[in-house]
């Protein structure tokens, strides 16, 4: 189990991680979700003792990483697949890691086999594709047969086959009773991979819950209404005090369930052509929750608005 309490990291004036507290439970895949620049990598580096927190603390099974004896046997991590000397062979890379934590040399061949790199074990890691590098990084994380595994954006840049492999692999690790903590900015991926979610934005905790609860809580359920008497219906709904959004020739209603809308339509004598519930997606939930906390906003929306208003003036 990983437990962070009030974790904070400042770089000068910039606060990268802000009073972050969360727990990562055992035996599950926990997703660590946030937009780029939210502080996911910094948090992971603090968990692993690479960066020193400005405040707060983080413990793995009750101990801080720097106090672990032979840490690779407790925690396996893949932060960056490129942390390998390009002129060193895959086997030599794993060999020094194994040696450093008194792991038997034969374990090197075992993990190479698990990730399917046995055939290229003698080749220099610099010539590896991203997918192969990622596999080598995972082999390194598995070397000490650790109970806790951390992966930072493991599917970044992988092809669909590689993504599927990693996803299955993580589920297998969690099924074996291990703690798996995996960061990503890809929501669709996390929806399929993670059972639990820790969501952050601008270094702050946004939510911690199961993936299902996150989607249920964060996405509002709306109802799509199509009708030839749309204006009447809009007026009636407006009087009922629900929020309405126009979408083409239909209305999207939130805050009223499907039965109530149907009854209201009947009372106001409006014919309904469609009345369908809209389920929110994880993407929507994520955008809603982190919308304000994206570190580097692309100002497309603002630019578009500015463009429209100037054109309006010309006209």
């Amino acid at each position: 189990m990983i437990e962070a309490v009030g974790l904070t990291k400042r770089y000068g004036k910039t606060v990268a991680v802000d009073n972050l507290s969360f727990t990562v439970p055992t035996g599950r895949v926990t997703g660590f979700l946030g937009p780029n620049g939210a502080g996911k990598s910094t948090t992971m580096r603090m968990i692993l003792g690479l960066d020193t927190p400005t405040g707060g603390s983080v413990h793995i099974g009750g101990k801080s990483y720097r106090d672990l004896k032979n840490p690779l046997r407790t925690v396996g991590a893949l932060l960056d697949a490129k942390w390998v000397h390009p002129n060193r062979s895959a086997r030599a890379h794993l060999a020094w890691m194994a040696k450093s934590n008194r792991i038997a040399a034969k374990r090197v061949d075992e993990v190479l086999d698990i990730v399917g790199l046995t055939a290229v074990a003698g080749k220099n890691a610099g010539g590896f594709s991203l997918g192969m590098s990622q596999r080598l990084g995972i082999a390194g994380a598995l070397l000490g047969d650790p109970q806790v595994l951390l992966f930072d954006e493991p599917v970044n840049g992988l092809d669909p086959e590689g993504i599927l492999w990693i996803r299955k692999f993580m589920h297998r690790l969690a099924d074996e009773g291990r703690t798996v903590f995996v960061s990503s900015h890809l929501l669709s991926e996390m929806a399929l991979t993670a059972q639990e979610l820790v969501v952050i934005g601008r270094g702050k905790l946004i939510s911690q819950s199961s993936t299902e609860d996150f989607v249920a809580q964060a996405t509002e359920n709306t109802v799509l209404v199509r009708s030839p008497q749309l204006a009447d219906l809009r007026a009636a709904l407006g009087r009922a005090g629900v929020s309405i959004r126009d979408e083409g020739d239909s209305l999207v209603v939130s805050g009223m369930d499907i039965a109530e809308i149907g009854e209201l339509a009947a009372r106001s004598g409006a014919v309904l052509h469609e009345l369908s519930p809209q389920r929110g997606s994880l993407e929507e939930a994520f955008m809603r929750l982190t919308g304000d906390s994206v570190e580097y906003h692309t100002d497309i929306a603002d630019e578009a608005a500015a463009l429209l208003s100037t054109e309006g003036v010309k006209r």
């Binding site: 003792g49 020193t52 942390w83 390998v84 000397h85 060999a95 040696k99 450093s100």
Partner: protein, 254 residues
């Protein structure tokens, strides 16, 4: 002990130390061969002259030592190392010990190789190793290389960039120390206390004129201390830089 083995594995499973070792030996021994081959009756070759090229080898060894740590930062393997061994001080000690040992071995092979090839090419020259000066001039090269390697690892750990670390080491050892002499009045006095001048004292200092003419060796160092205290002084400077590197590495985010 485990960490020493790890650092040995890391150093010797990449190519650059092997290339550096080969280059250091080729430069020093090659230079000795050149000296021996061009010697004649008017300018006889001596033990001191056989070690003329040791500074070239030293520069290459320092490059190797600096690269041993800067490439680890460059490729992120330093972080992988700190993940495997979160206690950073022993990691730096182990790395420095391994690099210094390799540098020392290169130095001894280079020195005795230079001496040997001189003997081979100038069989009539007097090249016996008899006096303390002659022993220092040859066997001392390994010691100087080892200390220089410690210094270079320290600079490498502080700067963390290959180009920066190598520039600092080259400019310091080749340019700064000789250019200091150009400063009016105090230049020479400062020069006598600079670390590489001190290191040079062990190899070229206090020539023993009793047996034979030593004029034909490299110019004796003008360092302020005797040969062995000078080496200690050089080692002290290296230790200071290394200590600064240890403190900084522990404080810094990896």
């Amino acid at each position: 002990m485990t960490l020493l083995a790890v650092e040995r594995m890391k150093l010797l499973t990449t190519r650059s130390p092997w290339w550096c070792a080969a280059l250091a030996l080729a430069l020093t021994i090659g230079f000795a061969a050149l000296m021996a081959a061009t010697a004649d009756a008017r300018v006889p070759v001596t033990v001191g002259a056989s070690q003329f090229g040791y500074t070239f080898g030293m520069v290459v060894v320092m490059v190797m030592a600096a690269l041993a740590i800067t490439t680890e930062y460059r490729f992120g393997t330093m972080r992988a190392t700190f993940l495997a061994a979160p206690n950073r001080t022993p990691v730096l000690f182990a790395k420095t010990a391994v690099v210094a040992l390799v540098a020392g071995v290169i130095g001894e092979v280079a020195a005795f190789g230079s001496w040997g090839i001189t003997k081979l090419l100038a069989p009539n020259a007097d090249l016996a190793l008899q006096t303390p000066y002659e022993w220092r001039a040859v066997a001392g090269v390994g010691l100087v290389y080892a200390v220089a390697a410690v210094l270079a690892v320290g600079v490498g750990a502080l700067v963390r960039q290959s180009a920066g670390a190598i520039s600092i080491l080259l400019i310091w050892s080749f340019l700064v120390e000789s250019l200091v002499q150009l400063i009016p009045r105090v230049g020479d006095d400062i020069h006598r206390w600079l670390p590489f001048t001190m290191a040079d004292k062990l190899i070229t200092g206090d020539p023993d004129p009793s047996g034979r003419d030593v004029v034909y060796g490299p110019p004796p160092s003008d360092a302020a201390l005797g040969p062995w205290p000078a080496l200690l002084y050089f080692a002290g400077v290296a230790a200071l830089v290394f200590a600064a590197a240890v403190v900084t590495t522990n404080r810094r985010d990896a």
